[in-house]
């Protein structure tokens, strides 16, 4: 494989391009695990991140689900927070200014109960200084269609993306749920409707119960599974989606280290998001940036873009010569 030489000043180039979105490195926080950024300011220099993806925002403030909302499972955790958030107006007036001051690219994750709500959110955010992109969360139920989750249906996903696309000139990212038969089909629908970028995966639908009280562990009964346990599923989804669409893909799901992040880049993600790992190690995002840089230095990779999607899935038979000669000898 061709190796790009390390750049002139000896420092590897971590910058990535995701269509219209340019980031100084491929590492960002995942929505819902990083608050509005400020929560982590004691632990990381937020300016060192490729971008900060903030907690999902709705038109109106939401109280969220009754507790218990979280539960730990082997190698992971489940949550049913219920999209508790301050609402778009308070986000813009109270939360965004802090991040804007730092000039870190801010990606605003949005969700609505109807297609129209998504469109109104996009319109409200459009033209606001300090916002780098919009990430559409299609993993919430459509109240008008009997609670069916938007992201589980390609047509409904397309409708949401179109509504957002029509109301903003910002780069649009669509965050896909893995709880579908074919994530590629949903990805294609999102791309076709004008999504500039796809991010995947959101949490896996899951459940935990208590054998003594005979009750679900979560008040909501179901929750979303995240953490290292979901990483292999996420990698497979990213692999499939990168081969189904032409637009860039952001990979996430169980990333806790630079190695994990590089795996996603290797299979084809142009950038990654780090979620649950922030809870265990609040400094993990910047540690991953540093880890990727070290890997590139050691491996002599000058430009991270050359590593993205460089996975080799061709079949090699290292002992083929021997087997050939064996066959030849049998034939003679």
């Amino acid at each position: 494989m061709e190796q790009n030489p390390v750049t002139a000043n000896g420092s590897p180039d971590l910058a990535v391009e995701l269509g219209p979105l340019r980031l100084k490195n491929p590492v960002m926080s995942a929505s819902g695990t990083f608050g509005y950024g400020e929560e982590y300011s004691n632990f990381v220099d937020l300016r060192r991140l490729g971008a900060v993806v903030v907690k999902g925002i709705s038109l109106e403030p939401r109280a969220g689900n009754p507790p218990p909302r979280i539960v730990e499972t082997p190698g992971g955790m489940m949550n049913a927070i219920g999209l508790e958030n301050v609402g778009v107006e308070q986000f813009l007036s109270l939360k965004l200014p802090y991040l804007r001051e730092l000039s870190v690219p801010v990606i605003v994750n949005i969700f609505g109960n109807t297609v129209d709500e998504y469109g109104r959110l996009a319109a409200r955010l459009d033209g606001t200084p300090g916002i780098a992109a919009i990430e559409i969360n299609v993993s919430c139920p459509n109240v008008k269609k009997g609670g069916m989750v938007f992201g589980t249906d390609p047509a409904m996903t397309g409708a949401v993306v179109r509504a957002v696309r029509a109301k903003t000139s910002l780069p649009v990212i669509t965050k896909l749920t893995p709880n579908v038969t074919s994530i590629s089909e949903v990805a294609k629908a999102a791309e076709g409707a004008g999504s500039d970028i796809i991010s995947c995966i959101n949490t896996l639908a899951a459940m935990a119960v208590d054998i003594f009280s005979r009750r679900p562990r979560l008040a909501n009964v179901f929750g979303g599974l995240s953490g290292p346990a979901v990483k292999p599923v996420a990698l497979r989804c990213v692999y499939e989606v990168t081969r189904a669409v032409k637009c860039p893909v952001i990979g996430l799901g169980g990333i806790t280290s630079a190695t994990d992040a590089l795996e996603f880049l290797l299979v084809g993600a142009s950038a990654v998001q780090v979620g649950t790992a922030n809870f265990t190690n609040p400094a993990v995002t910047v540690e991953i940036v540093e880890g990727i840089k070290r890997f590139m230095e050691v491996e002599g990779i000058g430009d991270i873009k050359s590593y993205i999607g460089s996975l080799d899935t061709s079949c090699l038979f290292p002992f083929a010569e021997d087997s050939c000669s064996l066959i030849e000898s049998e034939m003679s």
Binding site: G32, T33, F34, G35, E39, Y40, N42, F43, K55, A63, G64, N65, P66, P67, P68, R69, I70, V71, E72, T73, P74, G75, G76, M77, N79, I81, E84, A208, D210, S213, R215, P216, R217, L218, A219, G227, P228, A229, T256, T276, N278, F279, T280, N281, P282, A283
Partner: protein, 287 residues
């Protein structure tokens, strides 16, 4: 208030009795900033199981030595691993977290401290601080109960000059037989002691009874509440409790134990909206 990630060194590990342990850690930055009622998120080892940190309140703070102690009961995998830590080993901490107790005005009126089980932990440091600034004449009482005598710290652990201790066990194996809050109500009914303030820590069912009494008797109570939590720093929003909203009683709002608490006033929680799942002691199913 800055939150810190610090690699702590284990100074002492002692099994006090049964499944209850005392762990002393050298963690100068966190110990220097810690206040009674606050907590740390602790991780004993790298890896994915257990995945999340566990919250522990400060049971003693020795700021000048750079040390603090926690008291814990082994209930599952995380705490079992913790009980195997030997002096010299290290553990990763994030802290100090949460609001902490508001100390009473110096030399003020009678105070009641109510502890259920391992809930004694944050009250030990609090009582120490309160005693240090009192004049000695005040009526300070600790109501300390557990399920059984085997889960009650030895008397010398909680006895301090000038502090009157009332013990109870649910099974009557030591002290008053019955719930700690029942004993507290009995003592109140006698009329000789009337606290101007209550500090309490223990299971949610106990805290509910403390809150109910405090509200009915117009007494200020500071409750140290617990919850499962993933981050401890207000990001995951997992440690929610239903909040009372006096201005709009029908409104649904949640407070978060890690950043709005863990110390709450009796009236700030909407007790009738707490689900029974929440009253299960916070242990993890993978334990």
């Amino acid at each position: 208030m800055d939150k810190i990630i610090e690699e702590a060194r284990i100074v002492e590990q002692e099994r006090i009795l049964g499944q209850i342990f005392r762990l002393r850690l050298h963690s100068p930055k966190i110990a220097g900033a810690a206040r009674p009622g606050q907590f740390v998120m602790m991780r004993v080892r790298e890896g994915t199981d257990p995945l999340l940190r566990r919250p522990f309140s400060f049971s003693r703070i020795y700021a000048e030595k750079g040390d603090f102690e926690i008291l814990y009961r082994v209930v599952g995998k995380g705490t079992r691993l913790m009980s195997g830590l030997l002096p010299g080993a290290s553990a990763s901490l994030v802290g100090p977290l949460g609001n902490g107790f508001e100390l009473p005005a110096a030399g003020s009126a009678p105070l009641a401290f109510i502890a259920g089980g391992i809930g004694i932990a944050p009250l030990l440091e609090l009582i120490e601080r309160v005693m240090a600034r009192q004049k000695g004449a005040e009526d300070l009482r600790l109501f300390y109960g557990a399920r059984t005598a085997e889960e009650l710290l030895p008397e010398d652990f909680v006895r301090m000059p000038g502090l009157r201790v009332h013990f109870s066990t649910d099974d009557g194996s030591f002290g008053y037989k019955g719930r700690i809050t029942r004993m507290f109500e009995d003592v109140m009914a006698e009329g000789a002691f009337r606290p101007s303030g209550i500090y309490s820590c223990g299971p949610l069912a106990m805290q509910y009874n403390v809150a109910k009494w405090a509200l009915a008797n117009d007494t200020l109570a500071q409750l140290s509440l617990e919850s499962l939590m993933a981050c401890g720093i207000g990001a995951c929003l997992g440690c929610a409790l239903p909040a009372s909203t006096p201005e709009d009683p029908g409104a649904e709002r949640f407070v978060h134990v890690c950043k709005d608490g863990p110390i709450f006033s009796a009236g700030s929680i909407k007790w009738n909206k707490i689900l029974s799942q929440q009253t299960v002691p916070p242990t993890w199913p993978s334990n």
